[in-house]
């Protein structure tokens, strides 16, 4: 006990020495010094009606309704909107002081909450000089550690500053890269636009040709087609039919394969379910489900259908000269039939007359067709090879054009898409980072997907697909290594509609970003069932701000 008295005595002496230059009572920060200057009386800071003898300052009894008479003790800590209301301690308490001021000589001065004062704990984090435990309750001693902690802080701060500068540089690089990528996209757009223009011209030309040919075809007199032409027509029909069937087969096998995958996935889910369900819950429904699954699994027969599969693959191959049916053989006619020769009568006429006759004939025929007197040749399904070639040629170009247009649209959309400020995430898109955390390895793919993979086995589980940018208000620590979200508004990437949780929603991830030198997942938390939060550092969100080593103020609520 004597020791404590000595310490008290010493501190009295030291404070009286200090009093000569800065007459501040214990716990008062310099910005509040003016309220404590008078030696004759003290006025409660926010209640000027209350005047006290200066001996009441720091006498360990709370007199002022704003706590300002006890800057250096915990006597006014009950004045708080978080404490049970009591008469005299008004509900709308506004405290005059931000906390207990620690001078922290050799380090950064700061405030700690008054409720840390004389509670027997050395709160070096905010009070490296140990001055919060001036009374030594229960024998606690808090030697001044500011030199050591200050030095360490400065060392780390230097690293932080360095990292911050590096991060900004990285950010600039990212922005540059993004701009480069953007320029690339713009170039692509330009190229595509040119191509499209060319293709449009080509398409128009081909369309014209095709239409002309078709028109001609329609103008042909119905011919009782000879033997050869009948086969040609049949071949045309058969080819079309075979093509349809083949396409149907391919589509059905595709669907079958997809379903097989689904069944496999379901079986995996169910066998995991059987392993992991909690028999304690005695849920009859669950028990029944497990039983049925066991029966199902027991009855499952593994059949070998590789032969059948081979056949299907064989059938699904497109026809060509070497495989399947060589349609070309059937479609082209070796010799002209008699009727065709008659039709070629025109060819004997002088060209001018021929044109005129042909025109008239064709018009006449078209008139007949349009009036329902003649059957329409083109619709009869026996389109001639020439017309269909023209049509195909047009179609090919038109399809190509469509593709280009859609690519162009995509590129334009991409150009208009939100890649964050300065387009910076364009540079990160589709790259991924990983983090080992406890049982899981987590993966974040920028603007694409998040996933987790258990180290205890099992596949990767989707935790969401990127949907949009958002922001969130955070209030977190920043570690000595500079990692951490800090306080304020932070950019977030929202990943939604991940794999569905048993007993829960679809997984989703909120990726909260803060500035860091390199892309790194700091922390992953499951905030509620299957809703995750990833705290992620990336240079992409760094901003040029004067990093101020301001005193760490702790709000006293």
């Amino acid at each position: 006990m004597r020791r404590i008295e000595t310490i008290l005595l010493l501190s009295t002496i030291s404070s009286s020495i200090l009093a000569a230059e800065t007459p501040r009572p214990r716990g008062v920060g310099p910005e509040f010094a003016k309220f404590y200057k008078s030696t004759s009386s003290f006025t409660c800071i926010s209640n000027p009606a209350i005047t006290l003898d200066p001996s009441r300052i720091n006498d360990d009894y709370c007199d002022c309704p704003d706590g300002s008479d006890e800057p250096g003790t915990a006597a006014c800590t009950h004045l708080s909107p978080l404490s049970p209301p009591q008469p005299g301690a008004g509900e709308n308490v506004t405290l005059a002081l931000p906390g207990f001021y620690c001078k922290n000589k050799g380090h950064i001065p700061g405030y700690v909450p008054h409720l840390y004062v004389n509670d027997g704990v050395c709160d070096y984090e905010g009070c490296c000089d140990g001055s919060d435990e001036w009374a030594g309750v229960g024998g606690v001693k808090c030697p001044d550690r500011c030199q050591e902690l200050g030095q360490e802080w400065r060392r780390l701060d230097e690293l932080r500053q360095k990292a911050a500068r590096a991060a900004l540089k990285k950010k600039a690089e990212l922005v540059q890269e993004a701009a480069r990528l953007r320029a690339g996209v713009e170039t692509n757009i330009k190229g595509l636009e040119d191509e499209i223009r060319a293709l449009e011209a080509q398409e128009a030309e081909l369309e014209r040709k095709y239409q002309e040919l078709e028109r001609k075809e329609r103008g042909k007199v119905v011919t009782s087609k000879g033997k050869g032409s009948k086969v040609t027509v049949l071949a045309g029909l058969a080819k079309q039919r075979v093509e349809e069937l083949r396409n149907a087969l391919i589509s059905v096998t595709g669907k079958r394969d997809a379903l097989k995958e689904r069944v496999k996935e379901l079986e995996a889910i169910l066998s995991a379910f059987k392993e992991e369900y909690n028999p304690n819950f005695n849920d009859e429904g669950v028990k029944r489900a497990v039983k049925s699954w066991e029966d199902y699994a027991a009855n499952k027969v593994e059949t070998d259908d590789s032969a059948e599969e081979r056949d299907i693959q064989e059938i699904a191959k497109p026809d060509s000269e070497s495989e399947g049916i060589n349609w070309a053989e059937w479609e082209t006619e070796a010799e002209e039939s008699d009727t065709d020769a008659i039709y070629k009568l025109e060819e004997y006429l002088p060209s001018a007359v021929r044109e005129w006759v042909h025109q008239k004939l064709t018009d006449f025929r078209i008139m007949l067709v349009e009036n329902g007197i003649l059957a329409d040749n083109a619709n009869s399904g026996s389109e001639s090879k020439v017309v269909s070639d023209a049509r195909n040629a047009h179609q090919t170009v038109s399809d190509n054009l469509e593709k280009k247009r859609s690519s162009l649209e995509d590129l334009r959309a991409d150009l208009g898409k939100d890649y964050g400020e300065e387009d910076v995430f364009r540079a990160l898109k589709d790259t991924c980072i990983e983090k080992d955390s406890g049982e899981y390895t987590y993966e974040l793919c920028w603007l694409s997907r998040t996933s987790q993979k258990s180290k205890k086995g099992g596949g990767s589980t989707g935790m969401g697909n990127f949907v949009r940018f958002d922001t969130i208000e955070v209030d977190e620590e920043i570690g000595a290594d500079g990692k951490g979200l800090g306080q304020g508004e932070r950019l977030t990437l929202m990943y939604e509609n991940g794999q569905h949780c048993w007993n829960g929603p679809n997984r989703q991830t909120t990726v909260v970003l803060a500035c860091a030198e390199k892309d790194e997942i700091w922390k992953v938390q499951e905030q509620e069932k299957c809703k995750y939060r990833m705290d992620v550092g990336t240079p992409a969100v760094c901003e040029k701000t004067a990093s101020k080593p301001a005193p760490k103020e702790k709000d006293e609520l």
């Binding site: 009894y61 404490s83 008469p87 409720l115 309750v137 304690n280 819950f281 406890g438 938390q525």
Partner: protein, 966 residues
């Protein structure tokens, strides 16, 4: 009528749709009835109920076949011994049932009935069973710790038909033992208060061999069953839910009727979810149809207002009527059912004109073991709980942190997660003392290990917690994973310390870790071994601020009958599980308690262990909670009756999971639950693994602020709570007390269980437990003055008063005439408040006086047993406030006082201060006084600032008004 005018089809459709919608939103959770037996499915319960029905039907022509052989009786040193003969057939053949009636120095009486043939081992067991032949006679060695000294003043008189023993304080009690049929009437004064075998339901199913009857041959027609002799259908092997109980000893149940003439309320026999005042159990409007059941079980998603069994069992009942309380303690650890009926008083000249006109008649039925019943004659509730506590021990004086707030969740998933929650609580300035780890911290559910991936640094985590004097509680359960190379299971099986199956081989069942064995803590060798697992050097990653949670100790066995062990399993000494089931949880809790006492040589600190399963006596070992409740208003409302019932049954360190274990509470429910939880003796927030995170700081405003105020209220009142815990630890008085306990004459209060008093502080709380309520009807039992705790609004007048209670308000009254201590400085944990100054609140009574107590010690060690504590009474009368020592000086008193010498009273608040103090600014001794006159409907009050008195010293403060001042 009006409805019929409407197009009904449309309305029906609407209604159907509505009800479908409703059913979608109704939580589809509810107990699985089919997993647990009804009385009808429990052979012995069914038999004894049938026996009672037959007796009832026969009325006066029914004759109990139990008679004392008068010549067998002998009296010695306060004990009456003899033999009851049970006539078992028409030929008059009898079996001998030795009887011992002990009259104890404490004034309690004990009646024990055994079976001679089984005592002597002259029976044959079926199925070549190796089980013990005696009736289980060791329950006493677990449940009873004292109070068995025999009376030296009791006197017996006997005639041909009865024996009369006068005993108790000043010989006021009397037991009239009637020989034929056997029965005992217990009297206090002239009135009979407890009657044994009054209805003739005494039944001890004596051992009998199974007579194999020829099975009807195949193809032959089954002969029509001729009812010959007794119905044997439930005597032998019994099946339930696919499991068969081999019952090697056949039928062996014991039963007795106990009648409380003139008593219309009975309380106790926890644990059940239902009102404090027990209901009738034989049907009728508002009554239960099944008896109250005691068979400790892991009941998944239990239901409200039900006599169904839960996790713990205390077969102790109090009966209460105006100005009189009596009690019985049925010391039997087997499955037990208790039927209760209340009947209009039969013609009874002895109780004419006294009390009510209702008799409460109970019927106690146990599957095996002895009849061993203690009778307590009161006359006050306090006398009864005290007498019961003398036998089974008083509530542990806990670690002080254990009565502060506990933050739990299944599960904090990593050590970083724990540290993060810890930092956040600090940051939001929300006090808490303990953070908890459920099963997921272990490596693959192997207790005494840590998951290397998620808890790589338990010591670092413990160190961070210790910086704010906070603790960690980790779960350790009795099922031990069967896994090669797991040192715990290897040692346990090598030493043969697991519970055995009926063949005498280690019993294997299914629990959290999968296939498991269960440590048999009935075995002293198992306790010794269990102790070796806990030293800091053995349980790697544990430290001084780690404490233990024992869960699943009913025991819970996922694939066992009724989610527990087969009854024919064998424990140490080859006692059947059937005999000891309800004690199982206590023995495991006890082993852990012993283990925590021996973690480090030379370290002797109070263990803290939470248990889910319990029995009479568990109160000596730690705290209990009401198990896996649900996040709904019904469960919030059910918690207080359950905690009150536990309290009057001697186990007051009780609480319910704040927020509700299953499901996600709405924010108003969570907030109200914290306001209620601040009054649970054991105050812990807990949540199921599938629920959303709900640490208080996540709720957002205004909820977080309101919750924080509730928590800080608890913390500021900790000195009063600790004083109440101390009181419970020395005389068994509950920590939160129901009305009948404090006002045994006020009949209007006998069934009240939604408000209660906190210790002896005069604080009367009525927390809101209903959705959307903005006021409560608070009942005031007397004409004393009461004041709102938070704003000093006065209330007075016996009867109900409406108290406004918006979401941010807890209805809490201070009763005049009390003084209670507080510590108003909010800190991060209770440990950091140790040296803070006190605030004394004096609530002046009508007569201008007030009184209260403070007990304080180091809150951690056993040094209080050597006087290291401060125990003071504060008295205000004749304008003098005085602090007097009421402790007993011991070896360590001075040392402790020295350590506390700087702890002072910083403030004295006088509520209801006399108007004569108007204008006064100081007291005679110079102390500064601040007087606030009554205004705005609030009472006058005054504050003495810095009175400069020390908490550990005697002092007086003079408040009298001197003439010159007025």
């Amino acid at each position: 009528m009006r409805l019929s005018l409407l197009p009904s089809a449309q309305w029906t459709a609407c209604f159907v749709l509505l009800s479908v919608l409703c059913s979608l939103f109704t939580p589809a959770v509810s107990v699985k009835y089919e997993n647990f037996k009804t009385c009808d499915q429990s052979g012995f319960c069914k038999r004894n109920r049938a026996y009672a029905d037959r007796a009832g039907q026969l009325g006066s022509s029914f004759e109990s076949p139990y008679q004392i052989a008068p010549e067998s009786l002998s009296w010695k040193n306060g004990q009456l011994q003899g033999v009851i003969l049970k006539t078992i057939d028409a030929a008059g053949e009898t079996v001998r049932l030795p009887l011992t009636i002990s009259f104890l120095a404490s004034g309690s009486a004990r009646v024990v009935i055994d079976e001679e043939k089984r005592q002597k081992g002259e029976i044959e067991l079926r199925h070549n069973s190796i089980a013990r032949k005696e009736r289980y006679n060791e329950a006493e060695s677990w449940a009873i710790v004292g109070g068995l000294d025999l009376s030296t003043t009791a006197k017996e008189e006997r005639d041909a038909t009865k024996s009369i023993v006068k005993y108790g304080p000043d010989g006021q009690f009397e037991a009239v033992v009637t020989f034929a049929p056997f029965g005992i009437d217990f009297k206090r004064g002239d009135a009979t208060h407890v009657k044994l075998n009054d209805r003739g339901l005494l039944n001890m199913e004596h051992w009998r061999p199974k007579v194999e009857k020829a099975e009807p041959k195949e193809g032959e027609e089954t002969p029509v069953q001729v009812q010959q002799g007794e119905d044997e259908s439930t005597w032998w092997d019994e099946s339930f839910g696919g499991a068969t109980d081999s019952k090697p000893r056949g039928p062996e149940s014991v039963a007795l009727d106990i009648t409380f003439p003139g008593y219309d309320h009975v309380y106790g026999i926890p644990e059940h979810a239902g009102p404090l005042s027990l209901k009738e159990t034989r049907g009728g409007s508002g009554h239960h149809t099944d008896p109250y059941r005691l068979y400790n079980a892991d009941v998944f998603e239990y239901i409200m207002d039900s006599p169904m069994t839960l996790y713990g069992a205390i077969p102790f009942m109090q009966a209460h009527k105006k100005d009189s309380t009596v009690g019985v303690f049925w010391l039997n650890a087997a499955e037990t059912w208790i039927d209760i009926i209340k009947e209009k008083e039969s013609h009874n000249p002895l109780s004419l004109g006294i009390g009510s006109k209702i008799d409460t008649k109970t019927h106690w039925i146990s599957e095996s073991g002895l009849i061993d019943v203690f009778v307590f004659l009161g006359p006050t509730p306090k006398d009864v709980t005290k007498a019961y506590g003398e036998l089974t021990g008083y509530s542990q004086l806990p670690q002080e942190f254990a009565i502060a707030y506990h933050q739990c969740r299944w599960n904090y998933i990593t050590d970083e997660d724990v540290k993060d929650v810890d930092r956040k609580m600090t940051k939001y300035q929300i006090p808490y003392d303990v953070i908890w780890l459920d099963i997921e911290y272990t490596d693959d559910r192997k207790y005494f290990t840590w998951d290397p991936l998620t808890f790589p640094d338990p010591i670092g985590m413990l160190k961070q917690l210790d910086q704010s004097d906070r603790k960690l509680v980790a779960i350790i359960d009795p099922h031990i994973k069967k896994k090669d190379g797991y040192h715990v299971v290897d040692e346990m099986t090598k030493k043969d310390l697991a519970v055995h199956n009926k063949e005498g081989k280690p019993y294997e069942g299914w629990c959290w870790p999968g296939s498991s064995y269960w440590v048999d803590c009935f075995n002293p060798a198992a306790i010794s071994w269990w102790k070796t697992l806990f030293p800091y050097s053995a349980f790697k990653g544990s430290a001084e601020n780690l404490f233990i949670w024992n869960d699943m100790n009913e025991p819970s066995v996922f694939n066992g009958p009724e989610t527990t062990m087969p009854k024919d399993n064998l424990h140490h000494g080859n006692w059947e599980h059937r005999d000891v089931h309800n004690l199982n949880g206590l023995t495991f809790h006890n082993a852990t308690y012993q283990a925590l006492l021996s973690r480090k040589k030379g370290e002797l600190r109070r263990p803290f262990i939470l248990t889910r399963s319990f029995y009479a006596g568990s109160q000596r070992l730690g705290a209990m909670w009401t198990g896996d409740n649900q996040a709904n208003w019904d469960h919030l409302a059910a918690a207080f009756p359950m905690i009150l019932n536990n309290g009057i049954a001697g186990f007051p360190f009780a609480g319910a999971d704040v927020g509700g274990f299953f499901g996600n509470p709405e924010k108003d429910l969570l907030t109200r639950w914290y306001q209620a939880g601040a009054f649970y003796p054991f105050f812990r927030g807990h949540a199921h693994i599938d629920t959303r995170r709900r640490e208080p700081y996540l709720a957002g405003e205004p909820y977080t602020g309101i919750i924080t105020r509730a928590l800080r209220l608890r913390y500021s009142l900790l000195p009063s709570w600790y004083t109440a815990f101390h009181e419970a630890s020395v005389d068994g008085t509950p920590i939160i007390r129901p009305h009948y306990f404090e006002y045994p004459s006020d009949e209007q209060g006998f069934a009240i269980d939604d408000q209660f008093f906190i210790g002896s502080t005069g604080l009367l709380a009525h927390p809101v437990v209903t959705q959307g309520a903005d006021s409560v009807e608070i009942y005031i039992p007397d004409d004393e003055l009461y004041y709102d705790y938070f704003d000093y609004t006065p209330y007075s007048g016996q009867g109900k008063h409406t108290m406004s209670a918006p979401l941010d308000k807890i209805p809490l009254l201070m009763q005049g005439g009390h003084i209670f201590p507080r510590k108003d400085r909010p800190r991060r944990s209770s440990g950091l408040m140790k040296f803070d100054p006190y605030t004394l609140v004096i609530v002046l009574g009508k007569d201008g006086t007030a009184k209260g107590e403070l007990y304080v010690d180091d809150g951690d060690s056993f040094e209080y047993e050597q006087g290291a504590y401060i125990h003071r009474v504060f008295q205000y009368s004749n304008d003098i406030l005085e602090s007097k020592n009421i402790g007993t000086k011991g070896k360590l008193t001075d040392k402790y006082l020295k350590s506390m010498k700087d702890v002072v009273v910083e403030r004295i608040i006088i509520v209801g201060a006399p108007a004569s103090w108007t204008g006064k600014s100081s007291l005679k001794g110079g102390e500064e006084l601040e007087y606030h006159a009554a205004e705005g409907g609030k009472a006058a009050w005054a504050t003495v600032k810095k009175p400069g008195v020390k908490i550990g010293e005697d002092w007086k403060i003079d408040f009298s008004v001197s003439h010159d001042e007025v």
